[in-house]
């Protein structure tokens, strides 16, 4: 008991500083890890407009084409797949001199509640015969000076659920990204 009384200040200091050191070390590591990847979604509902990366973004439409439908067969979708087509209206701010509107990366995410279970990349280069709608872009047009429509297509497994969201990531905005629930 005497020993504890004599050393209580040092013991309290150890009890406080040891977990604080571990906590700060882990917090720094995790902050760096999450800061470098799309980890802070801004959810955008249907009909809403989000201001992001010097542009306004709003979901225009989404549709799912079954691989076994007449349209799916015509597109030449692989067996056991569907095609998801998502269009987004992008209205970039007028660029400053020598400046370009930001490029982006789009992915389709499947959710189970709040967690992403699977994700698919854009299928523009996949071996299918889908013809994009007239006047749309299949990528974020960094040279665009006015509003344009971004049409993204994804070949997903036909067992993918209905809880899908389009994610739009811009490198300069990480870890923030847009998530359009379909």
């Amino acid at each position: 008991m005497t020993w504890l009384r004599r050393n209580w200040i040092a013991l309290v200091a150890v009890a406080v500083l040891a977990p604080a050191t571990v906590g700060i070390t882990f917090a720094t590591q995790w902050t760096e890890y999450f800061g470098g990847r799309a980890s802070a979604p801004t959810s955008v509902g249907a009909g809403d407009t989000a201001e992001f990366a010097r542009a306004d973004w709003s979901l225009t439409s989404s549709r799912r084409i079954s691989g076994t439908s007449a349209e799916g067969l015509e597109i030449g979708l692989p067996a056991g797949s569907d095609l998801v087509v998502v269009t987004v209206r992008v209205s970039p701010e007028p660029p400053a001199d020598g400046d370009e509107t930001p490029g982006c990366l789009v992915r389709l995410e499947e959710f189970d509640g709040t967690s992403v279970t699977r994700s698919w990349g854009d299928a523009t280069l996949d071996p299918i015969s889908y013809t994009a709608a007239e006047g749309t872009h299949s990528y974020c047009a960094s040279d665009a000076v006015g509003p344009y429509t971004l049409e993204s297509v994804f070949v997903v497994a036909s067992d993918a659920g209905d809880e899908l969201a389009l994610s739009v990531t811009v490198a300069t905005e990480l870890p923030r990204y847009l998530s359009f629930r379909l």
Binding site: P78, A79, G80, S81, R118, S119, W120, G121, V155
Partner: protein, 196 residues
Amino acid sequence: MTRTTPRWRQVANGAGLVVILVIAGVVAHTTPSEEQQEAAIPVRGQIGETLDGRNIRATVDDVRIAESVEAGNGWAGPTSGVWVVVDASVEARVTDLATLGYARIKVGDVTYSASTRPDRATIAETGLSVGIPWTGPLMFELPLPLVSSDAARHAELQLAVSNDPRADSMLVMPVDLYSIEIEKVVETDQPVWGVR
């Protein structure tokens, strides 16, 4: 004024020190090395069985050996050894930011990568889709004496996403190459994308 430490405290301190040293020794000797910490995580199974890793699902249907191959794209590859042809179906499970970058056969201490000589006629290094498999051949060029050696009885087929499977799943299937009859020629189909 001097105080003498009681005898029992001296003994207890000594015993405490020994316990701490023993625990430190056990921890030091059982801590995995850096190589062990980074090693691929094997998922073992048999030919014909569907194996699931973190971001890879694969089924190997058949393994054949031939003196020459005629690939689905018309490619025919001469070899001074033999071709081990593996028919497999592979897909990603979580994200399609993945390729079949690691397809190897290990015989004894020697490892052979799937050949990329047939170009698009195999599924080696194919970009994987989530839930939509690519089905097609993998071709490995091996020396003839090796497939006739005792080590060939205990060969291993290894599949993983990306060419560096450290700290990720690696599907591992034993294959007895020694017992497979060597054919004159094996014909393969072009890889097919879609559920079989």
